[in-house]
Amino acid sequence: MNAPDPIIRIRNVSKTFGAVEALNNVSLDIQKGQVVVIIGPSGSGKSTLLRCINHLEVETSGEILVEGERVNGNQKRLNQLRTKIGMVFQQFNLYPHLTVLENITLAQRVVRKISPEQAIENARIQLKRVGIEQKADNYPAQLSGGQQQRVAIARALAMNPTIMLFDEPTSALDPEMIKEVLDVMMNLAKDGITMVVVTHEMGFARAAADEIVFMDGGQIIEKAPAQDFFTSPRNERTQAFLSQILTR
């Protein structure tokens, strides 16, 4: 393969929390426009890896380049870089004291310095994209979990990111709300935005992922295109994991 420079390049990254080794010498390249789904058992380091990409966690060793730029401690550059990386959290993390519209316009106004009118216009476009424009003036607490997560996606999209990170976006949702969030994510994947998704939703992984990364014990065990991964997993740990979750 003679692919162009990857949009995210993770090189020999390790991360320890005290005595716990969360990541152990992980390397991974992600190309522009790719949808990469990271799966694996709890505590395998999936979320830590994701959080290292936008520097919410700082790697103990190794390096991460986003669009060729090293993510490091320089606050100004880091804040700049983060505007290009949207993040969606398991617990939504909407700002509860602000309305849906204010949630989406806040960072546009204070970080991007966009005029309020333009920020609102942009916010309405994103709300339409996730299908809840009618909730613009509600507070987060008045929305269902699925709606809140869709607002969180709209909030991230409003910054016009080139990369979207999803950290178990459906794990805190009631079963009947998972689909509405996955549908939104499927549409984003079709739009060609680079996505890195940590999830337990194998249906989504199969349908949307270009590539699946299986992690266990802080290491990448297997990396393969979606079809190959599910039909013919090579590593036996992958096989064991898949047989457990797919026969459920």
Binding site: Q80, R82, Q91, L94, H97, A107, V111, A141
Partner: protein, 294 residues
Amino acid sequence: MIQKETIPLPYAATSFPAARDKLRKNLRTFPWWLVAMSAIAIGTFWLIATKPTYRDAFEFIKAGLAITITTTLISYAIAIVIGLITSLGRISNNIFFRNATTLYVELVRGIPMLVLIFFIALVGVPMILDGLKSLGAWLAESGFAAIGTALTSIKSDAISMNLRAITALSITYGAFSAEIFRAGIQSISKGQMEAARSQGMSYGQAMRYVILPQAIRNVLPAIGNDFVCMLKDSSLVSVLAVRDITQIARLYAGRSFQFKESYITLAVMYLIMTVILSFLVKYLEKRFGQNERA
């Protein structure tokens, strides 16, 4: 059609079980203490209205109300600003800022308020004034005559006792409210800061737009409670001969030997102010705590 239910008649309360239950519940939750307290207040008013000795005491003491109220308001306004800045220092990663603010809070917590008031007013402020004077003398010698002489000519009583009292109360309560704000900030989930930072906000922006608005709303009851305490503790400044209601009551009692009249009046004056303030605080809490949790 006339709706029967709109005006419940008094006797209806006992004839319908539902209404009777409601009455019983109302009686159980009724604030009887407030009735008793009102009785005390009204009794005192009655004394003031009918007995010349009480009236004289009240007429004399009320001259201190302005000082008590302005001292409390100004001190608390300053204390809140000090407290907010200090709380940010307490949770800061900057070693100097964090240690300086922690030292301040621990010093204030470890010294009785009365001692602190004496110290700040009678030792701290004079020390600063002396320092300014010697700085002035040094400046005058090294050629900055204008600033030098201006500093040396500061009189030792340039800062009035009222101002020193406000300084002392602000410093003391600044440390208390710092701890309240810190608790409020730490009560906000980590995810809020992460969400804000992940959108490219700086630490300061995340604090200002995301964390503090929620934290301050959460600690409003505690801040209000602290304000009521400040009103009461402002009586301590009477030891600096600041003419607040406590000091004036002491003067009056000492002069007229009418201790009972002086101190009953004084106590009820504080009581009425604090009860009114408490209700105000509760009302504000209700108003500000609304939209978020629907």
